[in-house]
Every structure is written in structure tokens, then in C-alpha cells.
Amino acid sequence: MYLKRLDIFGFKSFPRRTVLEFEQGLTAVVGPNGSGKSNIADAVRWALGEQSMKAVRGTKTEDVIFGGGGNRGRSGLAEVSLTFDNADGWFKVDFNEIAITRRAHRSGENEYLLNGARVRLKDIQDLLRSVGLGVGGNSVINQGQIDAALTLKPDGLRELLEESA
């Protein structure tokens, strides 16, 4: 199983639908300061169900919706989808592809979808945890946070290990 595709629409500095198709191996993301690279990492973390806005460098739901720029007005909606290749059946569901989508409106309301069908956040979290993708795990390491583990107290380090399981 691997992440096959990332769709970003209306999230942070991506007002237009932007699609990244990934290979299985090692993909590098490069570009100048402030161009939107960490916004891509935030998009992935957010779509995995992240509930702490601080972890995606915001304070409230609205902060992740495109706020306007150039002659384009602000977006009313942010939407990010992660499409996984499930040919090897890692997700114990009967689909070849699994698409997890998160949507947020300016009202603050969040929606979660699995292969296009509305589900609860809990359904997404349970599904992801079954394949080791819980938000607490190691799927996204934020900029400047690589050595955060070294500042944890011994109990915090144990929790980090438990979450990565």
C-alpha cells in the first residue's frame, strides 16, 4: 500500500485544484521560501484527521481555507483528499483504492468522506489506526520538529513509542 495521489483544493495557498501523483519510492518536494511546501505537509496531516489547529500552524478552522491573493477572492471551502493504492489489501476493506477526504467550511464545520461517502471522523481514525497511520504516529514530521523527541520527558517518550505502534 502507498499514497498514490494527493488532491488539494482551497486549502491554504492552493485555491485551485492541485493534484500530486506519487511514486512508491522517494519523492522530493523543492522550492523557494514561502512557496507552499510546508502547506502540502499540513494538507496531508489535516486530511489524516488532525484536530489540533496549532499542528497545522493555525488557530481556527478558517485559517486553513485560502484567504485570497492577487485578484482572486478567498475560498469558501478547503478540501484535501488522500488516495491510497490498496492492491495488497493492507486496509481491511474491499476496495482497490481508498480515498480519504476532509472538507472544511468557513462556518467551522468539518466533513469527512471515505471513497466519496460521508462518514464520521471516528470511522476515519479507526481505519487509519488499523494500518499504523494514526495522527499521533510518525506519518508527518513538521518543519523544525525533527528533534522534538529529544526534549520529551521519559513518560512522553513512552507515549511516542505507543502511538507509533
Partner: protein, 165 residues
């Protein structure tokens, strides 16, 4: 619960020790349980001995050494309980050229096991990539992504086809 935790702990420990020696080209490291009698509630401490140096406080490690120790722990956790993918946002920022090379070689070892998406400014890290995405932003605050195919064409060539707007 206890047996499961100890199994994870031992796997992470083995991975951490292995990746530490690869990243530092020598030396020793370990993770220890404060209270081995009740492991699931015990704290975890990290100890390191860098090649050629005495055992030292974690706080005395240099910026680059902290990144490498943390990377070894992360690779240890990923190899113990592999997730489908991992996004790393400039974790190589503090590394010099030699350590960037060692870091890249470990990432390349993971190909086939875990998919890595690595945000970087480091030419040494980009060298190992199977695919590269270039992110840019015009003077309108809107991010654009262009896929720079690597492997099959040797030279970087921009393939505008994948910019879906």
C-alpha cells in the same frame, strides 16, 4: 498489553541502535526503561555515545547531532511498525554534506518498504529521489506545483502535464 508493548519496545530499540550506527558511522546508542518491572508504565530514556567522544548529556549534542539521533529513532520506529508513507519537512536542514549523504542512503534503503515524501533545500537529499515536485508561487500568493520527472529521463525535465488547475 505488556507483552505487546515489550515486543514494540524491543523492535524499536533494535532499529534505533542499527540506524544510529549507520548514521554516525560508529558509536553506540540505546533506549532504556526506567522501570523494567512494569514496562507499560515506565518512562524511556535515550543514551548515546558518539564515535570518538565520551558519553555525554543530550543537551550538549550539536544541532546536526540532535537531528541525526532523532532521525535514528524515527527510522527505528518506522522499521518496527512500518506505516504506508512518511512526510519529512526539512529534517536535513542542520546536516552538513557528509551527514546528508548518510541520511540519503538510509532513505534509499527504505524504498519498497515505506514511501517517503521529503521536503528539502538540500541538493544531496534530492539526488536520491525517484521523482521531484517543484513548488513555486507567483506574486499573487498562489502556489503552483510542477512535476519534474527524474529516473527514466536522467536529466530533470519539467512535465507540465501534471499541473491540474
Amino acid at each position: 498489553v505488556r507483552r505487546e508493548f515489550m515486543a514494540i519496545f524491543e523492535d524499536v530499540r533494535e532499529g534505533f541502535r542499527r540506524y544510529f550506527r549507520l548514521l554516525f558511522d560508529g558509536g553506540e546508542a540505546d533506549i532504556l526503561l526506567d522501570d523494567p518491572i512494569v514496562p507499560a508504565e515506565s518512562g524511556i530514556a535515550i543514551t548515546t555515545k558518539l564515535p570518538g567522544k565520551r558519553v555525554q548529556l543530550m543537551t550538549a549534542l550539536s544541532g546536526g547531532e540532535r537531528s541525526l539521533v532523532s532521525a535514528a529513532l524515527l527510522f527505528g520506529m518506522i522499521s518496527a511498525r512500518p506505516g504506508p508513507f512518511c512526510v519529512l519537512d526539512e529534517v536535513d536542514a542542520a546536516l552538513d554534506d557528509q551527514n546528508t549523504g548518510r541520511f540519503r542512503r538510509i532513505l534509499e534503503d527504505f524504498v519498497g518498504l515505506t514511501q517517503f515524501i521529503v521536503i528539502t533545500h538540500n541538493a544531496g537529499t534530492m539526488e536520491g529521489a525517484d521523482a521531484i515536485f517543484g513548488v513555486s508561487m507567483a506574486n499573487d500568493g498562489i502556489s503552483q506545483v510542477v512535476s519534474l520527472r527524474v529516473r527514466e529521463e536522467g536529466l530533470l525535465s519539467s512535465d507540465n502535464g501534471s499541473v491540474v488547475s
